[in-house]
Point group: C2
């Protein structure tokens, strides 16, 4: 099966509803376990890129956030956000079908650190508990 043409079918679905036409499929053991297309405008959700929606579907199907044995075919080279999600989901390999540059990578980050002992403490407590549980 030509996985990229399956991804392209998904991209065409996005095209039909005036979404930026990007499609993705996820493969495990030679089978497609998830398909998705960009739905950012329809869902009004910044994360509704094809890759992320496909990863969500695949994780749901596998009941596992680790998609280590899975490969992603996507019609466009993933944006930075999707690349990070792909990493976090531990996708084994990504195949992409276009290198068009359509994304505005921009907007500086506005971050402020509010020093708070408690926010750090709860994390320390958690990992301490985790270590203790492992040793018992």
């Amino acid at each position: 099966m030509n996985y990229m043409s399956e991804a392209l079918k998904e991209a065409k679905k996005a095209y039909e509803i005036d979404e930026v036409p990007v499609g993705a499929v996820i493969i495990k053991d030679g089978k497609i376990i998830a398909k998705a297309h960009n739905l950012k405008e329809k869902k009004q959700l910044a994360t509704a890129h094809a890759e992320i929606l496909a990863i969500e579907k695949a994780s749901k199907k596998m009941k596992n956030w680790r998609l280590e044995e899975c490969e992603l075919f996507v019609t466009l080279k993933p944006c930075k956000m999707c690349r990070q999600v792909i990493k976090e989901a531990r996708i084994k390999h990504v195949y992409y079908g276009s290198e068009e540059s359509i994304v505005n990578e921009s907007t500086k980050e506005n971050y402020t650190y509010i020093e708070s002992g408690e926010c750090s403490q709860i994390l320390k407590d958690f990992f301490k508990k985790l270590r203790e549980d492992k040793h018992n």
Copy 2:
């Protein structure tokens, strides 16, 4: 209202169910419009970090993926993935309560470009159509 302590309350909910304890709230016009805590293990979903779940809730509430007037309070400095999502959602400012380093930034990217005229063409067609629609 102390928004960070509201975020911390969320982190405590995660703690109670053995999730890495991170909580987030999103503020608009001085009001909390979304709260969430990390649910990665419970949902078995790599994207179920507190920040992303809060952004999803806020977008749903606002019926808008652009959260330009919103601020995010989160108990831990966001990871790379969340920082990208925060950017894409156009969150105005992020306040974080801990700089603990808990994330394994790792795993190299395995990407392969499969040259495919069609995957590029559909994007070109889309943006061409978009420009034409604007001029008409």
